[in-house]
């Protein structure tokens, strides 16, 4: 029999905030048959378990909860009559934009005019960070604990230590404290927190939860359930300082040690991955190295604000639609953009120079009173943006007008005094 064969204009893989905004934008940009494929049983992705507020401050000038923010887009998806396939898992994508997906209704193969990758990211695990010791129960990534607590009414533990100060970890520290657990502290290996400053204030300081910087968990203890962890201070090279170890009794360890864009499907499709972001290498239309395949949201690079995800997805959806209807001009040359001093990454990694662009970037470490400067191949300034505070936890987005790009053949973006 074989899989059912279908043809679609724009196929959006993932129904989280990126996929939703991309689909809405694709439809608004003139593609009639847009379809969202979502493996979960509802749209909204990770926002469904983010019941705290703070979403939408930029986009809607309101503090919404995760589900409320998602709902604004879900309503548009419904109003525009965009097709959605729920409980449907994409099994593979190839470089000719053929998608194989599976659901209870059957297997089907879709030939897509354009594809938007919006699969989001996954959490780094204990194995991935070489956490030594035994393998007791009670060790969770923060996002898994969030899912269990907020969506399934399951309490994961009573005495918790949080390893890593990523935003989900901070939010879960507060969540556990609110539910009566004793949160012993947040231990961050870096000399500065990885999460947003506002989360440090609202999730830790307001709840009296201590944040220990340059400190990390070095061993797990317990044969069955976690009995405790050993923590220790580290030096500048992140090596454990002997003699600083101490034992913290706890039955729960939440890991918030990084997010990894989930690009296994992208890789299979032949999409080139940029090691600095873990996401696709894209141009200023957010098209990847594979023709007609676009990427946006956390699968492209990890964001700290959903508002920026939506903004990025608007663009990916727009250009995917243009590509699908055959209105995208092929480019013959690109201007490469590279991160310079003090900058961890920039995105897109190449631009046409023919339109205004938004450059996303993160700095390498916290700094104050500096400027982000873009320079061309001759060292001439293209843009300069002064910042009072720069922090790796805060992604920056800088708009550059196309007029500024004349005569530019390559660009480097760095931090200057």
């Amino acid at each position: 029999m074989g899989p059912k064969e279908l043809k679609k204009g724009v196929v959006v893989v993932g129904g989280g905030p990126a996929g939703l905004a991309a689909a809405v934008s694709a439809k608004a940009s003139g593609c009639d048959d847009v379809v969202i494929i979502e493996r979960g049983r509802m749209l909204g992705g990770i926002l469904n378990q983010c019941i705290h507020d703070g979403f939408g401050l930029h986009r809607f000038k309101e503090a919404l909860s995760g589900p409320e923010y998602a709902q604004r887009f879900i309503d548009q998806v419904q109003d525009l009559g965009i097709e959605t396939l729920l409980n449907t898992m994409v099994l593979s994508i190839n470089d000719s934009r053929e998608i194989l997906a599976s659901s209870r209704e059957g297997l089907f193969r879709i030939r897509a005019g354009a594809v938007v990758l919006a699969m989001g990211c996954r959490e780094r695990t204990a194995g991935a960070i070489f956490l030594p010791g035994t393998r007791p129960a009670g060790v969770y990534t923060a996002g898994v604990a969030q899912n269990l607590i907020n969506l399934q009414n399951i309490m994961v533990g009573e005495e918790a230590v949080i390893m890593g100060s990523g935003d989900i970890g901070l939010i879960m520290a507060r969540r556990l404290a609110l539910e009566g657990a004793s949160v012993k502290g947040v231990y961050e290996i870096l000399p500065y927190p990885s999460g947003l400053p506002r989360n440090i204030q609202q999730c830790l300081k307001d709840f009296g939860i201590p944040l220990h910087l340059s400190t990390t968990v070095v061993e797990l203890h317990g044969r069955a359930r976690l009995k405790g962890v050993t923590v220790a201070r580290v030096d500048e090279a992140r090596r454990v300082i002997q003699g600083t170890e101490s034992f913290i009794p706890c039955d729960t360890l939440l890991l918030s040690v990084g997010l990894i864009p989930e690009n296994e499907l992208s890789r299979e499709a032949g999409v080139a991955i940029e090691p600095l972001t873990g996401g696709a290498l894209v141009d200023d239309t957010l098209m990847t190295s594979v023709e007609g395949v676009f990427s946006c949201g956390n699968v492209l690079h990890v964001h700290d604000l959903v508002d920026h995800v939506s903004e990025e997805a608007d663009m990916a959806g727009h250009f995917a639609a243009r590509f699908a209807v055959g209105e995208m001009k092929p480019r013959d040359s690109y201007i490469p953009i590279a991160p310079g001093r003090g900058v961890r990454y920039v995105l897109p990694q190449k631009i046409s120079g023919e339109m205004d662009v938004v450059i996303s970037l993160r700095v390498a470490e916290p700094m104050e009173q500096k400027a982000i400067v873009g320079r061309d191949q001759n060292g001439r300034g293209i843009f300069r943006k002064k910042q009072v505070k720069l922090h790796p936890a805060v992604m920056m987005r800088i708009k550059v007008k196309k007029e500024k790009l004349q005569g530019v053949s390559s660009m480097e973006v760095g931090v200057e005094g």
Binding site: M1, R104, E105, I154, R225
Partner: protein, 500 residues
Amino acid sequence: MGNSGAKETTSGSSTPQYDVVIIGAGVVGNAIARELSRYALRIAVVEKELDVGMGTSARNSGVLHSGIHYKPGSLRAKLNVEGNSLMEGLCRELKVKIQYIGKLTVAAEDEEMPTLHALKEQGEANGVPGLEILDPEDMEKLQPGVRGLKALFSPTTGIICPYTFTIALAESALLNGVDYFLGEEVREVKRNGQKFTVRTRKGLGLVSKVLVNAAGVLSDKVCRMLGINDYTIYPCRGEYLVLDKRLGHHLSTLVYPAPHKGKAGLGIHLTKTVDGNILVGPSNEYVDGPEDWATTSYIMGKLREEGEKLLPSLTTSDIIRSFSGIRAKQAPPEEGGFRDFVIESRTDVPGFVNLVGIESPGLTSSPAIARMVRDMVSALVPLREKPEFKPELDRMTGYFHELSAEEQADLVAKDRDYGEIVCRCEQITRKEVLEAIENPLGVKSVTALKFRARVMMGRCQGGFCLPKIVRILQEDFGYRPEDFFLYREGSHLFTGRVRS
């Protein structure tokens, strides 16, 4: 967690009588149980963990050795070669994946050539078929990029998933009438008259004519329960790193360095698994605890260095997990190396069949060990073949994700539960999860599901599927949060409800 085909402790009722009681449900205990289930015998397996195969049998390289490494005339040599040749047929019956991918033992320099030739001679003396010394050109054909002067190729070296195999043996034994008592730690064994009485920590009592000690790293302790003080196990840990499937295609055969004198293990190397991952390891460290399955930052660092040397495209995010296993060594640290398996029918304690020091190649040898034990048992109780013995398990070999799109579409059309993917990384379907939950031995831990359905085994280590599995167990099977164990008793995953 409930739903158990295995027997529950029935305190108070009369003590069940058996012909054979086997202590330990590792690959050895289960292979013996399954072999004996061909005969009209009352058989029980008693295991302290909540599932079979939770000890060393789930914690090894999964290599079916050819038998070149062991001294001719030793039990290890004989049982390895015999076990290896029995594996193919057994795996066909049990629907277990097996791949004879062969192995290159590589000599890097001239001085190692005599070792290679000696291994070949030794292998031939042991009856290992098809051994050949290959030139670099032929080595390259088998494993692109391999470097070295020459290599000994052993075509009968294979790979298997050790816990899948162990579980399949147990299920087959159970379906052929063997009773399983899981979560029952044997604490006391007495011999009165012609019979043994076995008592567990929870108070279960079993009486048996024959008692088989297949307790792995704890086999010396079981001996001591019967007053046999001849053996001491020196636990020797091997740590591994598990690499992402992305890298699996780099290995088409196994490549080991030629062995060096004085080294007890086979040296750190890369091993491909039947599921496409690569293992880096195992290390080789004597430790105090027979079940101290910790991993250490020192060894993990070493493994990573070695891994990067052997596989230059390895990146940090390719390392998805670490684990360790414990070798049941009889050789103390100062002696090092290997001693032979002890497999004996004790004359001082008639009816006691004792297996001690079943370290590598215990997995490979298990089918042959089972036959040897059968012969010992036949001298103790009469064996009569059961006409109803059913050697096959009714199931599919491998996983949904290994099928072609056409085959997958057909399966989904037949059963919609195949269409719903629960585990993203390994693309495991709801149907496979349901089958694991409803397996004949029962499920008492999420690790039992992991070892059966391969959920939580991928790069996200359950980040995606654990919540989904919890939902299935709660909504479709009525589990409560308190019922979830990670693997052993006391390993509660959750502490209750957030709100009642």
